[in-house]
C-alpha cells in the first residue's frame, strides 16, 4: 500500500510576535514546525504501514527550509520525501497549492491513500485536503477520528458537530485527520541520525508539467491585502435576557444602531 501524506511547515504560532507599530506579525526568528494535525496524519500513515505493509511518501510545497519538516517526517517513519519548491509557487492560496500538489501526486503515480491534516494552524481554511481530492477525482472523507482498512475498503469515523458518522469507501481515497485520531510519537535520536542521511527529492515547476498560470500567485483566486491584530475594545459587556427569539430581536437592534446591519 502506498500512502502519500501532504504536510505543511508553519511558524510556531505561540512564538509569533506582533509589531507594536503596525500590528503585523513578525515571522523572523520564529521557529518552524510541522503543522500539528499533519503530524497526526504521518503517525496514522506509520500505523497503517505497520499493520498492512507498504510505503509512505511525505510531500510539502514550500521554500528550501521546508526540508527540515520533511526530515522530521522521515524520522517519524516516512520512507520518502518530496519538496515542491520554486519561485513560481510563491504566494499560492489553497487552490493553487492543491493544484500543484495534485500534479505532483499525478507524477508519483499509483497510491492507495492520501492523508492530510484537517487544517493548518496558520491559515485555518481546511481547504487543501478536499480540493486535492477534487483535482484527483477521489472520494474525500473529512475529520477522521479512526481509520480501519478491510482489504480495499476503508472505514472512517468522521467527526460531526455532535458525534461522528462512519463513512466507508473503496480505495483510493483522500482523508483529512484531526488531532483526536492519535498521539504522534516522538522520534528518537536514533531515528534522527538515520534520516538526515536520506535525500529529499526536490521538484521544480518544470518537473511537474503544470499549467504555469495555475500555480503560485498567478493561479490564486485570493489575495492577502493585510494581516493585522485587531484592536481590542474594552467596552462594557451586556448580557441579554429573555428567550431566544427576543434576544435575537435585541441583537438585530444593537447591530443596526452600530451601523453593522
Amino acid at each position: 500500500m502506498h500512502i502519500i501524506v501532504c504536510i505543511k511547515q508553519i511558524p510556531e504560532i505561540g512564538q509569533l510576535k506582533i509589531d507594536p507599530d503596525n500590528g503585523h506579525l513578525i515571522r523572523e526568528g520564529v521557529p518552524s514546525i510541522i503543522n500539528p494535525e499533519d503530524k497526526n496524519a504521518i503517525e496514522e500513515a506509520v500505523r497503517l504501514k505497520e499493520e498492512h505493509g507498504g510505503k509512505i511518501t511525505v510531500m510539502t510545497m514550500g521554500p528550501k527550509q521546508a526540508e527540515d519538516a520533511l526530515h522530521e517526517a522521515l524520522a517519524i517513519g516516512a520512507d520518502e520525501a518530496i519538496l515542491l519548491s520554486d519561485d513560481a509557487f510563491r504566494e499560492a492560496d489553497t487552490w493553487a497549492t492543491s493544484y500543484t500538489l495534485s500534479r505532483a501526486i499525478k507524477k508519483i503515480g499509483s497510491f492507495e491513500m492520501i492523508l492530510c491534516g484537517r487544517e493548518a494552524l496558520d491559515g485555518n481554511t481546511g481547504h487543501v485536503g478536499p480540493q486535492l481530492a477534487e483535482f484527483l477525482d477521489l472520494p474525500s472523507i473529512p475529520y477522521a477520528q479512526k481509520i480501519v482498512m478491510e482489504g480495499d475498503i476503508v472505514k472512517v469515523d468522521s467527526a460531526t458537530e455532535d458525534g461522528y458518522r462512519v463513512v466507508e469507501t473503496r480505495l483510493p481515497v483522500m482523508i483529512t485527520v484531526t488531532k483526536d485520531l492519535n498521539t504522534p510519537h516522538i522520534p528518537t535520536l536514533f531515528d534522527m541520525t538515520d534520516t538526515f542521511e536520506k535525500d529529499v527529492t526536490v521538484w521544480r515547476v518544470d518537473d511537474l508539467g503544470v499549467d504555469k498560470e495555475r500555480v503560485g500567485i498567478k493561479g490564486s483566486f485570493t489575495r492577502i491585502h493585510n494581516l493585522f491584530t485587531p484592536v481590542l475594545f474594552k467596552e462594557s459587556v451586556k448580557i441579554l435576557e429573555g428567550n431566544l427569539n427576543s434576544i435575537c430581536d435585541k441583537v438585530v437592534v444593537i447591530l443596526k444602531k452600530s451601523n453593522l446591519l
Partner: protein, 376 residues
C-alpha cells in the same frame, strides 16, 4: 569558525524539548514530592537515545559528538534539573568505561547504560577527600583472581540504583589508587546513608559501605595504580557534562523571569517595561549566552581531543557561577512570590545550586585554572 548548529543539532533540541514536555513535565511535581525519578522515565530516556550520544553505535549509542551531548543535556535541564543531572552522572560511568574499559568491559556495560536498563555511578569522594588521591582510604586487596574491598565512599550520586559503579580504591601505598567497575547492590555493598537534598529531588545521593566486597580482576579499569589518571580523564568531561545541566537550568531561570516580567503588571504596565527589571533580564541573557558558547567550545575541544583540565575547569567554573547568579536574579525579578513553591523559579534556584558544589567546587576549579596559567 562556524557557530551555526547543524540541522541534526536543531532537530536534537526540538526532540529533547518535545520529550521533556510530554514525558517529564506532567510528572515533575510527583518527582519532587516522592523524591524519585521513575525507572520507566529512565528507560524512556534510553529509548530516546539521550543516554548514549557520544557512544559508538556498536554499543547501542548514537555515535554523536560531545557538542551534541552538551546541547541535549542543556535542553533536558531546561525542562528538569534532576533528570538532566541524573543523565550527566550516568555519563560519568559511560565515559569512564568507554575511554578506559577493555573491549569486554565496554561490550558488557555500555549497552545497558545507554539503554537505560541500569544507571551508572562514579565514586571517588570519601569523607576525608574531595579530589586528593593520597586521602583515599577505602581499600582493594588482590587475593587470587579477585579484589577484596573494604571502606566507605562518600556522597555518590546513583549509588542506590542497579548498575555499575566506578570505584576508586587504594591498592597500595597512600596515593596508589586503582579504578574498578563493579556491580552495585551485591553482597558486601550497602548504602547506609542516603543524603536528603535541598534540590534535585529525584536524584539519590548516598554513601557506599564496602565490607569484604568482591570485585573480579577483570573488572579493573586500566592498570593497578593508574586510578588517578583514570579519574583525571573522566573528570575533565564530567565537569563540562555537569556544566551543561547548569546552563540548562540557568536558561530555565531566564525563561521564568522573562515570563514573569511580561505577565506581572504594576501601575498598568508589565514590570518588564521598568528599566531595573530590564537590567536584570539583559544581564542574565548575556551571561547565559556567553556560558553557552564557552561550553560548546570546550565540548568541541573534547571532540578534537585537545581539551585540557584547565579548559574544562574554566567552563565548569563559569557555568556554575553563572547559573547561581542567574537564578538569584530571576528570583529577584519574581520578588517575594518567587520564594513560593507556586512558581517554578524556586525549584530551579535550589537545583542549580548543586552545580557549583560537585565535580570539584568553584574554588577547586579556580585552583586548577590558576595553576595552569601561572605555571607555578
Amino acid at each position: 569558525m562556524d557557530f551555526e548548529l547543524t540541522k541534526q543539532q536543531e532537530f536534537l533540541i526540538k526532540t529533547v524539548r518535545e520529550f521533556g514536555e510530554k514525558e517529564i513535565i506532567p510528572i515533575e511535581n510527583d518527582i519532587e514530592e516522592k523524591n524519585d525519578i521513575p525507572n520507566e522515565l529512565i528507560k524512556k530516556m534510553g529509548k530516546l537515545g539521550i543516554l548514549g550520544i557520544p557512544v559508538d553505535k556498536k554499543y547501542g549509542g548514537i555515535g554523536g559528538s560531545y557538542v551534541d551531548l552538551s546541547i541535549a543535556v542543556e535542553e533536558l535541564a531546561r525542562i528538569n534539573g534532576a533528570a538532566a543531572f541524573m543523565v550527566a552522572v550516568n555519563y560519568l560511568g559511560v565515559i569512564t568505561i568507554d575511554h578506559q574499559g577493555s573491549e569486554e568491559q565496554k561490550a558488557k556495560w555500555l549497552p545497558k547504560l545507554v539503554s537505560g536498563e541500569c544507571l551508572g555511578a562514579f565514586s571517588f569522594t570519601e569523607h576525608s577527600t574531595g579530589s586528593d588521591p593520597r586521602e583515599i582510604y577505602a581499600t582493594a586487596k588482590l587475593e587470587g583472581d579477585q579484589y577484596i574491598c573494604n571502606g566507605r565512599k562518600g556522597f555518590t550520586t546513583g549509588a542506590t540504583y542497579d548498575g555499575p559503579v566506578i570505584l576508586f580504591l587504594r591498592t597500595g601505598e597512600p596515593g596508589e589508587v586503582t579504578a574498578f567497575v563493579a556491580e552495585k547492590n551485591l553482597d558486601g555493598y550497602s548504602t547506609p546513608t542516603i543524603w536528603p537534598l535541598v534540590g534535585l529531588r529525584g536524584m539519590k545521593v548516598a554513601d557506599i559501605q564496602l565490607d569484604n566486597f568482591k570485585i573480579p580482576v577483570q573488572n579493573r579499569l586500566n592498570e593497578e595504580g593508574k586510578g588517578f589518571s583514570v579519574l583525571l580523564d573522566t573528570i575533565s568531561v564530567g565537569k563540562v557534562d555537569v556544566s551543561c545541566a547548569a546552563l540548562g537550568m540557568a536558561q530555565a531561570a531566564l525563561d521564568e523571569a522573562m515570563k514573569y516580567a511580561k505577565d506581572k503588571t504594576m501601575r498598568g504596565k508589565p514590570i518588564g517595561t521598568f528599566q531595573m527589571v530590564q537590567n536584570e533580564i539583559a544581564e542574565m541573557a548575556a551571561d547565559v549566552e556567553a556560558a553557552r558558547w564557552l561550553l560548546r567550545r570546550t565540548m568541541h575541544l573534547i571532540d578534537m581531543k585537545k581539551a585540557t583540565l584547565a579548559d574544562c575547569a574554566k567552563a565548569k567554573y563559569f557555568c556554575s557561577k553563572m547559573a547561581d547568579s542567574v537564578c538569584h536574579r530571576a528570583m529577584t525579578v519574581h520578588g517575594g512570590y518567587g520564594y513560593s513553591t507556586e512558581f517554578r523559579i524556586e525549584r530551579i534556584w535550589r537545583d542549580a545550586k548543586f552545580c557549583g558544589l560537585v565535580e570539584g567546587n568553584d574554588v577547586i576549579q579556580k585552583v586548577i585554572i590558576a595553576r595552569d596559567i601561572l605555571g607555578i
